[in-house]
Amino acid sequence: MATGTTPTTPVTEASGGRAHGRAAIAARHLRTDRWWVPPLVTALGLGAFIAYATWRAFANSDYYAAPYVSPFYSPCLASNCTSMKGGADWPLFGDWWGLSPALLVLVFPLGFRLTCYYYRKAYYRGIWWSPPACAVAEPHAKYTGETRFPLILQNVHRYFFYLALIVAGILTYDAVLGFRDPSGDWGHMGLGTVVLLVNIALIWAYTVSCHSCRHVIGGKLRHFSKHPVRYRLWNRVGALTARHMLLAWSSLISVGVADLYVYLVASGAFDDPRFF
């Protein structure tokens, strides 16, 4: 700012009506546009997905229709898993686990998305209203942000990113298995194969566009000129990171659709159209 800014009014706590010498404006905000639409849409979208995912995660049924497995149930780590031919059903947890095996693995994508920089923005705005929209006052009397427990734990996002790479790897394997027919022979392709492929492509795009990924790939460097390869990768990842919100939503929807598709086929409500 170029102009002289020596305050001419002493800042006193006792100033009329409004503390700290701020302009006396009583309204919480003066926005005239429909600022409440984005937080509302966000809250509804997240709520719908959570409701659907909770139902499916606890259902513990109709998650495998050879050769397709629902992304909610892969890898399947308990003994009570449906057997999947060559699939990622490794009973690491043995038979003491009596609940739905989805609960064992959903922790990872859940943690990844919960601590994601985009989803944080989405639920801080849409659900917690901190703030609901820009220049619209939040309803909370106190605010400490991510400075203390529990929100300081958001800093673990990076480690969920590493775990998410493993999960994405396994889902890629599942998608490849979609090229086998129900009896296990290669050279098959059905609508389900396409659904799983689109889903895994979006999951990878979302995972790679992660801000932590951008940092690890090259963002932490001081001298790009000394690391030309990482610099190029950092630029590529950065282009995706700029679309992180879009990828967050599209991959969330594709995961839901992939699960729903498997559910429909497994429960017999729908026959998987076969291309070859």
Partner: protein, 256 residues
């Protein structure tokens, strides 16, 4: 040329109180909100206080709130409003008001002084600095800042919580820390200052919940959150929460 009469509400007053005052005022094609404020000054309210300078969106003086949106008055075209729409102009909320649309932004200068300056590298004289373009690119984006302080004004951390002003530097100055931390020649680390860790410990980086309002209002379209605040948070994680880095520093300390 077509002109019409618009309904304006302008906040008038000072630290002792004030309120919105109604005006009917002429608007012509191609004008911006600042033009209308000037017309009010010239025709109806000669003592209306407003700070401005360049009228080109480059000096950062004319920050205010138009229909509740923090904006530069000189960059807000009248054509974005319907002709029958009331246009409400208020001073920035987060800072103490001096008079009418003029606020006391010295909070920002205090915060600016709290950020340790660039530390020159040893053994390289001024004038001998050589830097590759790709190494300075990131910092250069942040240098576009015109210090309008709209981001500081909009950030809910201080806008809604006066008591956080003490602990929180605000987006503009956290971005300044990021700029120096990414600077290829800054030698702060050699003097024992880790800028990223200090952003979290001393300048309130943890208060930012990356809700991006600073980015939304920045008239220079700087990607404050994506390119400065999130990278700075990631750098702080490197320093403070990475178990490998932590273990490494323990072992090294023991060896000393």
């Amino acid at each position: 040329m077509s002109s019409y009469t618009a309904h304006f509400k302008v906040w008038r007053g000072d630290a002792d109180g004030g309120g919105l005052q109604d005006f009917q005022v002429e608007v012509n094609d191609g004008e911006v909100v600042l033009d209308i404020i000037h017309r009010l000054q010239a025709t109806q309210a000669s003592d209306l206080a407003v700070r401005w300078n360049c009228k080109a969106g480059k000096c950062g003086s004319c920050s205010a709130e138009v229909n509740g949106h923090p904006r530069l008055m000189c960059m807000t075209r009248m054509s974005v409003f319907r002709r029958d729409e009331t246009v409400t102009v208020t001073p920035m909320r987060t800072f103490p008001v001096i008079r009418d649309l003029v606020t006391d932004v010295s909070f920002n200068y205090t915060k600016a002084r709290e950020v340790p300056a660039f530390v020159p590298p040893k053994g390289v004289a001024a004038g001998e600095y050589r830097m590759a373009q790709q190494d300075v690119e990131r910092s250069q984006e942040f240098r576009k800042c015109i210090e309008c302080f709209l981001c500081q004004n909009t950030c809910h951390v201080v806008r809604d919580h006066e008591e956080n002003k003490e602990a929180f530097a605000g987006p503009r100055f956290l971005m300044r820390i990021a700029e120096l931390d990414m600077h290829p020649l800054d030698a702060a680390e050699e003097t024992g200052l880790n800028r990223a860790a200090s952003a979290q410990e001393d300048h309130g980086l943890g208060y930012c919940n990356i809700t991006k309002c600073c980015t939304d209002v920045c008239p220079e379209n700087i990607h404050i959150t994506d390119n400065a605040l999130i990278p700075l948070k990631e750098r702080a994680v490197d320093r403070k929460y990475d178990p490998l880095v932590w273990l490494g520093s323990k072992i090294r300390r023991r060896g000393q």
